[in-house]
Subunit: 326 residues, 2 copies
Amino acid sequence: MGGDFGPRNIVQASVACLSAKPSLHLTLVGQPSLLEELIAGYPAVDRARLTVFPASEAITMDERPSQALRGKPDSSMRVALQLLHDDRVQAVVSAGNTGALMALSRHVLKTLPGIDRPAMVAAIPTQRGYCQLLDLGANVDCTAEHLFQFAVMGSVAAEALGVMRPRVALLNVGTEDIKGNQQVKLAAGLLQQARGLNYIGFIEGDGLYRGEADVVVCDGFVGNILLKSSEGLATMIAARVEALFRHNLASRLVGALALPLLSRLRADLAPARHNGASFLGLQGIVVKSHGSAGVQGLQSAIQRALIEIRENLPERLHGRLEDLLL
Amino acid sequence: MGGDFGPRNIVQASVACLSAKPSLHLTLVGQPSLLEELIAGYPAVDRARLTVFPASEAITMDERPSQALRGKPDSSMRVALQLLHDDRVQAVVSAGNTGALMALSRHVLKTLPGIDRPAMVAAIPTQRGYCQLLDLGANVDCTAEHLFQFAVMGSVAAEALGVMRPRVALLNVGTEDIKGNQQVKLAAGLLQQARGLNYIGFIEGDGLYRGEADVVVCDGFVGNILLKSSEGLATMIAARVEALFRHNLASRLVGALALPLLSRLRADLAPARHNGASFLGLQGIVVKSHGSAGVQGLQSAIQRALIEIRENLPERLHGRLEDLLL
């Protein structure tokens, strides 16, 4: 029921994923009459693999996490998480209220042993591919121990996505030892001593985009601002490029030829809008799609959930955390 | 003597500024023989307005601020700041080591009454013009009071640059009151009560680039990471655009036409590389040019210093701070 565009996009993305993946089964959780009406628009869909599960309430995009926890026992978000908890589904994907999804996930699924707080991670495009950036906003205040846990989780997630010996870095204002705030310096000490982790040191904001690390760790305040400012800048650049090509007749001619190429690029660059963000550290797989994600963004989020199921990510995380933390 | 390219670019930029501004006088501080040799390459320059002042030492780009303070009494940076302190020049522009410049500036010039720590500010391009972003890295840990002082200083700086009733915002992970860390929430309380300040509330990373505020305030950890990641992203996008246009013959033809337009845009977008960053809150005008600034970047930094001299920025700041803080 979530997202800035409601269930319409979600149904469309579901139908597309079902036809692309013959082994996929999807359960849509929400108001049955509305969902059935939307599904009816796709008569060719294989209903044996598309179930509707009822939930009478929905959490709005501006609701507080505390309200979501206490006020709505039958929200689509909570019901979906309960299905995951009860092993009736293998992962939950939501485009709804991020804070509420995190609070409900922690409440219904619980965190893995050794993890104080789940983190939100997404793949950010870089000059050399992608890096996993975390935390993206679930935790605004973090201790060194939290940053350490994020590093371990990010490393395991990158491995699951196919990176060998992922290079793990701490985001900082400089690369020298003396740089940074107290939490970052202490976290560096913890990471230097961690066995089995390819910790490469501090990284700066420009190093992230140069692709110097596969996993970049920061607190949720910094990560959220980095992610949103990057989206804002990419949007601004795209708008300026278009304006430039519309400026005069000669550039308009060039633009007519160049813009299709540039719009391809634009899609590549919108980080979390395009890819799902995962919640790491929970006893279950939860992927958050951007609230304003289009159909393609939702498909990417479902795709990310499928990879995490295939790789059994929570189990892998659990094993690694036992090695490193306990 | 500073910057990634040493004094060669600085001499070239100085010569260009002198010929553009007939009332400008410049003093180059550093090793006289080296500077004179470089100046000799420009026989047409008006030497009545271009002085060389000797300094036997230079601070390297990787030197610690504490070393710069204690170890080199005759560094070009320190000598230049002493000339400013003694009213023999009206502003200092440097492309050298940022941390050392800040430490020496505080030591030689002192802060204005009511200011605990100077902040570094630069103009960031947005969809609607520019916003003044501060702090950019001088202060990695900030209290609410520091953020409040930065807001006041940023507002006065924006006014000096021609903005009427600058819209001042606090950078945060959401725009609702409950969002953010403790410092940001407390700073919001202080700003809401400040008379004569056009405080508009919280702003997110994407709002910054949409141009929703004229002054955006954050701690130096966040500001530095935002600035550097933005530079990294802009560079990456430019590289991808070029790669896209080189990909095949058809796009290469389009690219040959489009790339000159795009390189114009690229110059507009590199924020601090292009514009000087000012130190605010000192008893004197100090402008920091990016270490890797080209000649044009250095000219922009000198230009920013000239505006601050014309507007008598430290004096204006002092007056406003007395009204608001004392």
